[in-house]
């Protein structure tokens, strides 16, 4: 099949309209999970088919797209999604957070504050934050509609009882605009504060589970906690070995067979920009 055989951004216009309606509904009811008819995509579930469909529905020819996986632009997943949109939509791509108008992400929020006009699209594996304790979908739907969220705190209680502190480090549940409890996707809890009062539009797509939810710009997003165990946006307590940043989320990298290791920014674009600007960490060559 030639590339011309695809409609712009792969999905047909009918499907994109259906997805846009779900997105608009999601933006109108921040944090509410909107069902949508997820389509087969030319990639397996778990590869971000929900995020890809949302991106396809919002992309315009003049957009510039960035794709990150765990903060990096160069992993297999990120590269294949980026090239998918290069081929099917012909849009320009970039690795620069500042220059991107649409950013699709798996497991991270860029370190740089986003601005108005940008759209951040999250890939979501499990959209239902209550699933862990209540597997019945009929019941979780009722809990959302009646704001019965006690169970969310049972989950955090169990964490503290077992580990002495809230050990949930990823997909840490949040409350949106004082109403819906939402799973922010498996981002580290370090990223949770970035969701709140964000200038960009944030869209969440779960392909297998057929759900879309959204945060319009400047939405209040609060991480759940207890009075005596307050939420902490923690990260490894080191500076980045390459750029020296003290306030960015770090990955631990094994350096050699002797077990040497270093901590580096997980957001590769952020790290590179800092190094270009002359910042240097203790492990930089």
């Amino acid at each position: 099949m030639t590339e011309q055989a695809y409609n712009f951004a792969y999905l047909d216009e009918q499907t994109k309209r259906m997805i846009r309606r779900a997105i608009l509904k999601g933006l109108a009811i921040p944090g509410y999970q909107v069902p949508f008819a997820s389509r087969e995509m030319p990639m397996p579930y778990g590869w971000g088919t929900g995020g890809v469909q949302v991106s396809a529905a919002v992309l315009c020819p003049e957009d510039r797209m960035k794709v990150i996986d765990q903060g990096a632009d160069d992993t297999t997943n990120a590269v294949s999604i980026r090239s998918f949109f290069e081929r099917t939509a012909g849009v320009e791509t970039t690795t620069s957070t500042a220059e991107a108008s649409v950013i699709q992400t798996r497991h991270r929020v860029p370190e740089m504050a986003l601005s108005e006009g940008q759209i951040l699209v999250y890939q979501v594996p499990i959209p239902e934050p209550l699933r862990f304790l209540e597997p019945r979908e009929s019941e979780t739907r009722k809990m959302h509609s009646l704001e019965e969220y006690g169970l969310m705190h049972v989950k955090l209680y169990e964490d503290i009882a077992r580990h002495g502190h809230i050990a949930t480090a990823y997909a840490y549940p949040v409350k949106v605009e004082g109403r819906y409890v939402m799973d922010p996707s498996p981002i580290p809890k370090f990223d949770n504060p970035k969701l709140s009062d964000c200038a960009a539009i944030q869209l969440f797509g779960a392909g297998r589970e057929q759900r879309i939810y959204a945060l319009p710009p400047y939405t209040s997003v609060v991480s759940l906690d207890f009075e005596d165990h307050p939420f902490e946006a923690s990260k490894p307590d080191h500076p980045c070995g390459l750029c020296g940043a003290e306030d960015s989320y770090l990955d631990e990298v094994i350096m050699d067979d002797a077990g040497g290791r270093m901590f580096v920014c997980s957001d590769t674009d952020f790290c590179e920009a800092r190094r270009l600007a002359g910042h240097k960490g203790k492990d930089a060559a």
Binding site: L146, E148, G150, V154, Y157, A161
Partner: protein, 258 residues
């Protein structure tokens, strides 16, 4: 006893298709009173209880509860959010099978704490203190607070279910065969415990059972059901010692033979 019933059941009927579940049941329950419902298997006890507790919608009739905020309200016609709020504050429901009333994947402390968190408790230390206190009141060792109920014996699971239900200080407890399926000695201990809690907390309760020993010990009043209908009701001792209806006489004599 005040003159205002806590619960007033009026002409409750529930059918399953053409089949009768329960038919035209009415009674009043006063604060601090325990009502026993007995009858053979299939006589409609659970159907009636579930209609009262809001788990089943009756075809006809009213279940009027004296709410704290607004006085007597028909819980059948109130909105679902209101009814669900009642069921996690002023009402409690103890299932025959503890696993239907417990979260098996959650620790004992989490099970007891859930209702507190459901009504807004947000202090871990306080929740834990209350959970510890309640485990003690149902005679579960405090060292088991972080264990899952799947590691508990049947009797302990049932006691945990009771603690989880009573922690928010409900005024009305529905129980469906709370001692069913337990060993006789375990039953006796549970009954003792229930009797103590009912007395100390001034609870009102509706207890479904087919064990007459249970009602003898716990219930002030008794209703006897047969084929979905109430055939006799009165003070427990009166009904058991001087049964009027032929079916009740049979029921009582069959117990005596055991």
């Amino acid at each position: 006893m005040t003159d205002q019933p806590l619960l007033s059941v009026r002409n409750i009927s529930r059918h399953y298709g053409a089949h009768i579940g329960c038919e035209d049941v009415s009674f009043d329950l006063y604060p601090g009173e325990v009502m026993g419902i007995v009858g053979e298997s299939g006589s409609g006890k659970s159907t009636l209880l579930n209609c009262m507790a809001g788990h089943l919608t009756p075809d006809r009739g009213q279940v009027v509860f004296d709410t704290r905020a607004d006085g007597p309200r028909d819980t059948v016609t109130m909105s679902e959010p209101e009814r669900r709020m009642l069921s996690r504050t002023d009402w409690a429901f103890v299932h025959q099978h503890a696993r239907d009333g417990l979260r098996m994947g959650v620790s004992a402390g989490g099970n007891v704490g859930e209702r507190l968190m459901a009504v807004g408790a947000r202090n871990y230390g306080d929740i834990r203190t209350k959970a510890t206190d309640w485990l003690g009141r149902v005679e579960i060792d405090a060292t088991r607070i972080d264990d899952r109920p799947s590691t508990f014996s049947g009797g302990m699971q049932q006691r945990l279910q009771i603690a989880r239900n009573l922690v928010t200080g409900p005024r009305l407890v529905f129980m469906d065969e709370p001692t069913g399926g337990l060993d006789v000695s375990v039953q006796a201990r549970l009954l003792d415990l229930l009797r103590g809690l009912v007395r100390d907390m001034g609870l009102s309760a509706v207890i479904v059972t087919h064990d007459l020993a249970v009602v003898r010990l716990l219930a002030d009043r008794l209703m006897v059901m047969k084929s979905g209908r109430v055939v006799e009701q009165g003070l427990t001792d009166q009904v058991l010692d001087d049964p009027q209806h032929g079916y009740t006489q049979l029921l009582v004599s069959s117990v005596l033979q055991v």
